[in-house]
Amino acid sequence: MSDTSSEDHVAIGIVSHSKDVARGAADMVRQMVGDSVVVAFTGGNPDGGLGTDATEIGAMIEKLWRPAGVVVLVDLGGAEMNTEMAIESLPEERQGVVRIANAPIVEGAVTAGTMASTGASLAAVVEAAEELGG
């Protein structure tokens, strides 16, 4: 295990159209990686149906934000676009360390979490997750 604290580790955000999928993926990261990596999730549209919500995603990223960086896993197109918009609405100096990993949401989140728990850099965490994408 790394001797750095979770504050120094890249954090993981999960955005799914389904809140249950997002929660389940976050649970898997917590169970498989432990609490040395901070994980948050969001899912569903403003009415509680399936969909994603740029405002909620923005709030999740704000909560996760740290100098080490944040990797966000997304499921489908709308989740990706809403996450991009949420990142763009962050203050400019904060945008640079928030990245969307192009990877399957569950496997990507677990891999990113595992990599982040070693204290790996943001680039290394994103790369590890994206290798799964094929």
Partner: protein
């Protein structure tokens, strides 16, 4: 200064989309997840709730406010796409109601949508309506507002109809591949409804 045509224009667009929400969701059921009409309805109902505050702004700022409202309320992929369309159109407009200035605004919105959706024309999306509309408006830049509006309306109709035979490569419809052929794209239809509504307002003299 706000413009007196702004509120009726926003209201007409919102009411048209809300009135067509079942049709849009039915189109979406054929090739997507069937929520386009409901999503647009939710978004434009939120716009109507704030119409007085929005219409009090100058038109470019009002477009940006509409875009921000849509991003927050629509959900699905159409939230960020329509949100970007309106926000970028507002940012690309100097506020003059000339054909050339409106063409530049719509082109700004279109460029935003292309960047956001990483898409181009011919992929069975709303871009297939907005791109010919921009071309028609540019070509009509020395014509009257009414002539330009009529040209935009006809370009939108042709663009929409062309999506029927296209194979989707973007969005949920892309999973269907060849099976997406034969259906109108719901996002192209909602875009065409917006152009049609605005064009009618111009020909009736409600908007410049």
């Amino acid at each position: 200064m706000s413009a007196d045509w702004l509120k009726p224009a926003i209201q007409a667009v919102a009411e048209t989309l809300i009135a067509h929400s079942e049709e849009l969701s039915d189109l979406d059921s054929a090739i997507g997840d069937g929520d386009h009409g409901h999503n647009m309805k939710r978004g434009f109902q939120a716009v109507l709730e704030q119409i007085d505050q929005i219409a009090a702004e100058e038109p470019p700022k009002a477009l940006q406010k509409i875009g921000m409202t849509l991003v927050g309320k629509v959900g699905g992929a159409s939230g960020p796409l329509y949100g970007t369309l309106f926000m970028q159109a507002g940012k690309s407009w100097d506020g003059t109601p000339s054909v050339a200035a409106v063409a530049a605004a719509v082109e700004g919105g279109l460029d935003g949508v292309k960047a956001r959706g990483k898409a181009t024309a011919g992929e069975k999306t709303m871009i297939d309506v907005w791109e010919p509309v921009v071309a028609a408006l540019k070509e009509a830049s020395d014509k009257s507002g009414a002539d330009a509006a009529a040209a935009a309306r006809s370009a939108a109709e042709t663009g929409l109809e062309a999506t029927r035979e296209m194979k989707a490569t973007k969005g949920r419809a892309a999973y269907l591949g060849e099976r997406s052929i034969g259906h109108l794209d719901p996002g192209a239809r909602s875009s065409e409804l917006i152009v049609q509504t605005l064009s009618d307002l111009v020909s009736k003299g409600v908007a410049p």
